[in-house]
Point group: D2
Chain length 403, copies 4
């Protein structure tokens, strides 16, 4: 179906997930890595004839100093997660991406994220409207410079604090407020980026719990411009397991009394989440689905703590206390030792291919059939993983029957 190249523009391009996406695309293109972990490479998705992983050109924004090459190498030196020989083999590819990166923005991103930013980023004085136009122009230039057919923008930036100010429901009102100074921004940074993406004629994926394109006003903008978007918050580890295990307890009529999840990890994302404001958004995204999946909501507790020695290894301990027949209390515990970026990166690539495919099929607005990829799926209340996978399979069937 597809020929030519498409663009993948990453917000937060120097983070662990982003650099793993870049390293993985380059390694697969060079034949150095099999496509393990890519949903789009399973038998079930073959009929979709998705764009090849080697047809994806990467660029992006970031607010931090340092190069993509250095960031990628930390996946070895701090986390032992990507073998050094692989990183060496793709260094030239990463350097090429480095040359395409552009300075991002911390306008309305909160203190914890601001503390990460380069001085030159902090020195910018832009209204939201100015920021959007700068970002939009960067994306457009990326598309034209690289002769790209289409672009998908993915938000991989650090989690923002929850945005508590009300957001107008219609886009026109929002648009008018974008001319106010930064301090009166009607939207958080992640949403300004989403507007920029739409204005640059790019699809948008929010892989974080930040606000992004979630507000109805932004969904309206996307639909108006005929662009699809998806989110929120990639479901990679502990929450994935919740969405797999909780339906079993429900199906068996076992009464889950409490579900406790403790998460520890040591990457940059962890340092940001150590800030209580930023953590609140993440915990909410990890916690709410149990109430949706179980007939009687259990007592729940989710903690996320920064433990430096773990690097990118997100280790979770979950303790599930449930009652069975005759009221007998029983326990399931699991520990998950997963490398966060290694789990997330292939899902980002999957989403880019699928959202781009949906765009080619003429879909716009939210894509609820991508629910299985997200902790807080847009346009979909289904939280059970198997049922969410069923939504994807149904969509695949509609696509392949119609051709």
């Amino acid at each position: 179906m597809s020929s030519g190249q498409i663009g993948l523009w990453l917000i937060g391009a120097k983070g662990g997930v982003a650099t793993t996406v870049m390293t993985g695309l380059a390694a697969m293109a060079r034949g150095l890595a099999p496509p393990i972990g890519l949903v789009t490479e399973t038998e079930a998705l073959r009929p979709l004839d998705l764009i090849g992983c080697d047809a994806i050109v990467v660029g992006g924004h970031d607010i931090r100093p340092g190069s993509v090459v250095e960031a990628a190498q930390r996946m070895w030196t701090e986390s032992r997660a990507i073998p050094p020989e692989l990183l060496t083999a793709v260094t030239a590819d990463l350097e090429a991406i480095d040359a395409r990166l552009r300075p991002g923005s911390v306008l309305a991103a909160g203190d914890a994220i601001g503390a990460l930013a380069d001085a030159s980023i902090l020195a910018r004085r832009e209204t939201p409207r100015q920021m959007i136009e700068r970002i939009r122009d960067d994306i457009c230039r990326f598309a034209s410079d690289n002769d790209l057919k289409r672009v998908v923008v993915v938000n991989l930036a650090s989690t923002e604090p929850p945005w508590t100010a009300p957001i107008p429901a219609d886009y026109a009102t929002v648009a008018a407020q974008l001319y106010q100074p930064a301090a009166a921004s009607p939207l958080p940074t992640s949403s300004l980026y989403a507007i920029a993406a739409f204005e640059a004629d790019a699809a948008y994926i929010n892989f974080t719990p930040s606000t992004g394109a979630t507000p109805p006003a932004l969904d309206a903008l996307a639909r108006e411009r005929g662009l699809p978007h998806a989110g929120c918050d990639g479901k990679t580890g502990e929450t994935l397991l919740k969405s797999v295990l909780a339906p079993m307890f429900a199906a068996r009529n076992l009464d889950v009394m409490s579900w406790v999840g403790h998460n520890i990890f040591g990457n940059l994302d962890g340092r940001i989440l150590d800030d209580p404001a930023n953590k609140a958004a993440k915990v909410q995204s990890k916690d709410h689905l149990l109430a949706a999946l179980l007939p009687t909501p259990p007592q729940t507790l989710v903690s996320i703590e920064y433990i430096e020695s773990l690097g990118d290894w997100k280790t979770a301990w979950d303790h599930i206390h449930f009652r069975g027949f005759l009221g007998t209390p029983m326990t399931m515990q699991f520990t998950w030792q997963g490398c966060d970026s290694i789990l997330a990166a292939p899902l980002v690539i999957d989403l880019v291919r699928l959202v781009d495919r949906a765009r080619q099929a003429g879909e716009c607005g939210q894509l609820p059939w991508l629910a299985s990829f997200f902790k807080s799926p847009l346009g979909c209340t289904e939280q059970a993983f198997a049922a969410q996978v069923g939504l994807l399979q149904t969509w695949i069937a509609t696509q392949t029957i119609s051709r």
Copy 2:
């Protein structure tokens, strides 16, 4: 839909699962226990209008000395799994069941099970045909004495060694061989019981990995008589989790390299499984599904060990070693601390209600839509739990639409 009472005839009536079934039915009838753990009491199954739990009269066979009351009390004294006040409250009900029990048979059941049997059981000299008729008559008398509309026989006896002799494919040949002496029995004990059940006009459920009604010859007999049957081997704990978790690894294209499961427990079932011959049947039943659920079969290991202090608490540790993107190895571990009989008993009651419902709906032979209840479902190759639950839901829809 249902009025009047049905019979539940348990093979292995003095075991932990059987006495928990009895205790639970009595406790629920007296309003002392909510129906936690009963799939048939979830919202999704309400439209089936199943027979009430209080309309089930229990009897059964066993080979061991001692009373049902004593056996039930061990769920408190050895396992702390059923509160003593509950056991006290249902003592009269259990005594009534005791009066309905009949001596079973160890004909062709292997040495480990024979060692459990009462001397009077071992002293019996019967051909398979004679044993079947005795068992059949016991079941018929149970039905008539208690004025039961229908009877369901459930095999809860200790796991037999795998039956290695070939079993003729047509029932007529099998039937002729039943007149040979016990040493030349064409079938193991569990299958002789199944024939007796069918001859007594009872549906049959094999909750164990023993042979039961699995051979095509016996399925033919059931269909000939218009009787449904289901099996094998109730899926209660570690294997349930395998059927829930493995599909997730497959859906996410994660490469499971090895899956190790160690099970320890201390009930009678555990003592029997300490015999290598009997254990072989169980391990096979717990292990085979991973190859069916994962695209590349991993190295697997299942152990089941008898640890006396645990009583009925089946504790499992599973270690799942998988590779993700770029070949990075990761690990999931879980421990499951479940009370075996407490998990199994409500499923037995569920199966009795559902198989009886299927019989009323005119179904006979294997019931593949009951796959979610079994480790080795008859007539169904689907091993993913969510898909198996889907089969049940589909069947429910067909039943309720037709009315």
Copy 3:
């Protein structure tokens, strides 16, 4: 050595540990329970000829409504930790203790503890001096009414918030300030109780992380009156394991990079610790010892969370991340599923017997050889459990040689 009876006066007499102490003493006296978990019943302590468990008469203070009998029964109904038949067998003994209880005090105990108190307790208006005299008189009357040879007071009350006001180093200054109103109390409630104990000629044990007799001024008072005291904070579960495992890592020169401990439980103590102020004292007591035991202090994290369904079952997950030879990172994890009161109660009895024995041997002030019983041992910097047990063994040797 001992004849006659001694008194055990419990502050917090209606809590889980206290009622388990009472239940246990009564059950052992009636021959219904073996002395499992009592250090003082091991072979090594036999030569001390300690006072018999059946020679200990129990009374105490509490601030809450309800009876000891009801509180003890919650160890069955909420926690399944003490069999109901045992509780029934000792009901008369518990009722006798109930008759000896006296109303306690929440003077200077903080808001979370105050919220537990009975209205009649909250209505009292006492200066610290008046409170001490009332408490002292209660203890003296307990001793005379029951013809007790000696009394040991044990603090088992809920953990207070850390006391941040400076405490004068000499007792005379403290004593003068006790006449001020409650709001200007120079000491927290736990310390006022300790003074009352000393004034009542009783030894004192602080089984909590509250201040108790820790301040030098109170130690001086104890020594002046010839009374021994010990503390702080009984070492029952997760912290015990830290003091056992950390010395191994140190001895093997393994570099512990991080040690994370998550604790969940659901008893009243847990509800109090849900208050951040009260939790701070506990976390500090659980956390500080790793820095003392390891050559390079690791990053540490301790959480304690209230999960109602667990009742008295304190479940801890510890994740220990360490580097070995050539810098290779490795992991140890443990989960501890212990019943808090069941673990603590025998240690309380042990301490009563040992502190009373020390008093008979003429010891006064802090007893550093009891370090193995405490998270924050008074008068002892040794935190390694095996070395602490060595201190006890050495003391036993001095006691038995001298006789």
Copy 4:
């Protein structure tokens, strides 16, 4: 105290532990690795003035084809345990060791080990006496070629099956039988190596559960020649934890009812232990100490299983079921994810330095003060780790006082 170089002669020089010893010594000598995991580099052992790690020259025997360099690289390619850059940096050092290796022997080593051997090894036809002389000459030539002051031989070869034939108690009788053909060898291979070591004037350390120098006849030979020896079976992971944790349960008078340990790993040692005969020796060595450490021996179970994907990562799950006060059952579980060779290698280096130090101090025969290093310490019945560490500290004190 020491100048000049000493020799370390490894039996099983191409195994994971041996190549990690070589890699580690070379890396430390080049300043590329800190001495983490070396007991001899802790503060407590500084006064011993041990020989420097850079003064140890390595050689050895092996029966397998392939080079040390290749074997060392598997610690990266199969196990991700030693970083590839470190292996590259020491390649020249490993090649130099390769040049010093000599062909070993499988005389009387059992079938599983024989299956690993190179054809040239299997083709040898030697009597035990001839084998000893060949091995002895190899060691002597190593010493003279490298101008070594003393040599320590360490057995790191795969675990032999238990040796069931009786071994004469006096060495003269043994010596006479060495002239018989291989099939009538009076001793297993490991013991023949030990004799060769003693005849080559080398101290001997048995880091495996094989027989080695354990028989009294061989101890007599060592003492006659003034040589020290130590063993058996390095205590690196799960068994180390048993020797640390069991004393805690004993000290607290908690009644351990069962202790189950499941071990999985995938290195060559694991493949050999997959043979039931070889496994028997290992399980016995891992299991016996609990009976020695606990007042009432619990039911125990130890399994060791070969799971290829784990490589050198020995993962253990232990489940400890114990009763506390009032008979309440409780549970501790731990998982240990340790890299076997990484844990073992520094202990080998420690033992070489300490045994050589003892030899300089004039000690010969068994060295019971090294008990903390071994699962089955020779000459010492103490199994509690802390007490074993105390034996080492006491010895250090005697050595440093005397100088």
